[in-house]
Amino acid sequence: MSALSASIIAACARGLAGPSVRWVNCRPATRQRVYFANHTSHLDFVVLWSVLPRKLRSLTRPVAAKDYWNSGLRKRIAVNAFHAVLVERGSKTAEGDRTAAARNTLDLLLEALGTENSLIVFPEGTRGNGLEVGPFKSGIYYLWSRRPDVQFVPVYLSNLNRILPKGEFLPVPVISRVVFGPPLKLEKDETKESFLEKAHAAVCALREA
C-alpha cells in the first residue's frame, strides 16, 4: 500500500516537474549510497526519489526535518509512503541540547542506512533561494566518518524552487533538471573542513553540467 502511494505521489511530482535526468560519470547502482543535494523546495526529495530506477527506490530513504514533516498528511506522505527518516534540525533545538540531538540524529541515520539502504540528504539543512547553494552543516561529515564504505553522490536539482517555492502550498508545473555527479573521492584522514568543502564544490560543479 505504501509503495503504491509513493509511486502515485512520485508520478504526480514527475508530471509537475517533468524532470530531465543526467548521470555524469556515475551510474545507477544498488550499492549503498548517500545522495546529497541542494535544497530549494519541499518537492526535492520526492523528485529525486522519483527519478531513481524503480529497484533503487525501495532501497532509498529520504531524510527530512521532523518539525515540518511530523504531522497529519505530511507525516503520512513522508513516513508511511517514502519511509523518510525524520530528524531534528540543529537550529530548532535549544543550545544545551545540540550535541545530544546531533548524536541522536547520527544514530538515526546510521540505523536507517543499515546494511543495504541508501539515503537522500540535504546538507544545507534548510531551503535556499535557488540561486546559491548555502554552506553545508557538518552532519554529513560525521555520517561519512562512521560509514566511509558508503558512496557519497552529489546531486544538483534545478528549477524545483519555481514549482513550489518557500512559503507556497500550491504547485505550478515547471520543467526541472536532476544531475547526478561522480561519487566523492576522499582521503582516509579527511578533515571536517576539507570534506565539507569538497562536498559543497561537488554539488556546485553540477550546476553547469
Binding site: G18, R162, V172, P173, I175
Partner: protein, 323 residues
C-alpha cells in the same frame, strides 16, 4: 457536436498510416546507405522523428475515437504541457507564482470547458479579455513592482499562444456546418495534416536544396527553397484532400495556403523566442522533435485563422462575404 468515424475518415487515417509506413521504409533504407558521421546524425534524427510520429498519431487517433471529449482533453493536456515548456523557458519570479497557478489550473481548463460546452461567445473572450485583465490584477495584489509590465506580458502571451490559440484546433469540432454535421472531426484532421505536412516538407526541401536563409538572425534552417517547396507541397496535398472537407478544391487550396503560411509564421516567431533565450528547442518531450511547443508552433498560429475563416464562410455566412 458529435461525430462518427465514416468512410472518408477511415480512408484518410489509412492514408496517414500508409504515409508513415513509407516514411519508415525510406528512413530505414537511408540509415543503411549512409556512411559519413555528419550525414548519419541527420538520418538518426529523421528516424527518431518518424518513430515519434507513430506515437503522436497513435495518441491522436485514440482521442479521436473517444469523441469530442477525448479531443478536448487531449488538446487541453497539450496546452498544459506547452505552457509548462513556455514558463520553464522564460524567467518568472517568486511573485508570479499564484498568477501562474491560476493560468495553469483555472484558465486552461475553463477555456477547454467553454469550447466543450459550445459556448462560443465565452470561449473567444475568456483569455484575450478576462485573463488579460486578471493577470495584472493578481500580480498587483502580490505587491511586487519590479518588472511589472514585463512579467504581466510574459504570462499573458503564454496563455494566448499555448492555451487560447491551440484551443481553436479542437474548437473546430463545435462548428456544426450546415450539410457537414457530425463530420467536423475531419476538418480538425485536415488542419493537422496540412499544418504538419507543411512543417515536414519545409524540413525535407530545406535539407535537400536549402541555401538562401530567410531570417538568418533567427533560424539557420529556414530557407527560401524549403519554405517555397514545403508550402507548395502542402498546398497541393491539401487541395487533393478537398473531398473530406466542406470546401471546393479551390477553397481547399486557399485554406491550405493560409494554414501553411501561418504555420511558417508560427515557427519563425517561436524560434525568435527560443533564440532570445539561447536554446534550440522548447523541451525534449518528443524524441527528435524537441518539445511539444516545437511541434505545435504551426498549429498555434494557423488554428485560429482556419477556424474563423471556416466559420465566417460556412456557418455565420458573414454579410461582408454574402451580400
Amino acid at each position: 457536436m458529435n461525430f462518427k468515424v465514416d468512410h472518408q475518415m477511415f480512408l484518410i487515417l489509412n492514408g496517414v498510416v500508409g504515409g508513415l509506413v513509407a516514411a519508415s521504409l525510406v528512413g530505414f533504407a537511408l540509415s543503411r546507405s549512409v556512411k559519413s558521421e555528419d550525414r548519419k546524425a541527420t538520418i538518426d534524427n529523421l528516424n527518431a522523428r518518424i518513430r515519434a510520429w507513430w506515437i503522436m498519431i497513435g495518441i491522436f487517433s485514440i482521442s479521436f475515437v473517444i469523441g469530442p471529449a477525448g479531443s478536448m482533453l487531449l488538446f487541453g493536456f497539450v496546452s498544459l504541457l506547452a505552457l509548462r515548456e513556455y514558463i520553464s523557458l522564460i524567467s518568472t519570479t517568486r511573485a508570479d507564482h499564484r498568477t501562474l497557478f491560476w493560468s495553469f489550473f483555472v484558465f486552461t481548463p475553463l477555456q477547454y470547458w467553454f469550447w466543450y460546452k459550445g459556448w462560443y461567445g465565452l470561449a473567444i473572450i475568456l483569455i484575450p479579455v478576462y485573463a488579460f485583465l486578471f493577470v495584472p490584477i493578481r500580480l498587483a495584489l502580490a505587491g511586487e513592482t519590479a518588472g511589472f509590465l514585463d512579467r504581466a506580458a510574459r504570462i499573458q502571451w503564454g496563455l494566448m499562444v499555448c492555451v487560447y490559440c491551440i484551443s481553436y484546433a479542437p474548437a473546430l469540432l463545435t462548428l456544426n456546418i450546415p450539410g457537414y454535421q457530425r463530420q467536423d472531426a475531419k476538418l480538425l484532421l485536415f488542419l493537422m495534416i496540412v499544418a504538419q505536412l507543411s512543417d515536414v516538407f519545409q524540413y525535407i526541401w530545406g535539407k535537400l536544396i536549402g541555401k538562401r536563409k530567410i531570417v538568418p538572425g533567427i533560424s539557420p534552417n529556414k530557407t527560401w527553397e524549403g519554405f517555397i517547396g514545403g508550402v507548395a507541397t502542402a498546398v497541393a496535398l491539401g487541395m487533393s484532400l478537398w473531398w473530406m472537407t466542406p470546401f471546393t478544391p479551390l477553397q481547399a487550396l486557399l485554406m491550405s495556403l493560409a494554414v501553411a503560411l501561418m504555420g511558417f509564421a508560427g515557427g519563425l516567431t517561436m524560434s525568435a523566442i527560443k533564440r532570445d533565450r539561447g536554446v534550440k528547442d522548447f523541451g525534449s518531450t518528443i524524441e527528435g522533435h524537441g518539445g511539444i511547443l516545437d511541434r505545435m508552433d504551426s498549429i498555434c498560429f494557423s488554428a485560429p485563422l482556419f477556424f474563423h475563416i471556416t466559420r465566417w464562410i460556412f456557418v455565420a455566412q458573414h454579410p461582408l462575404l454574402f451580400r
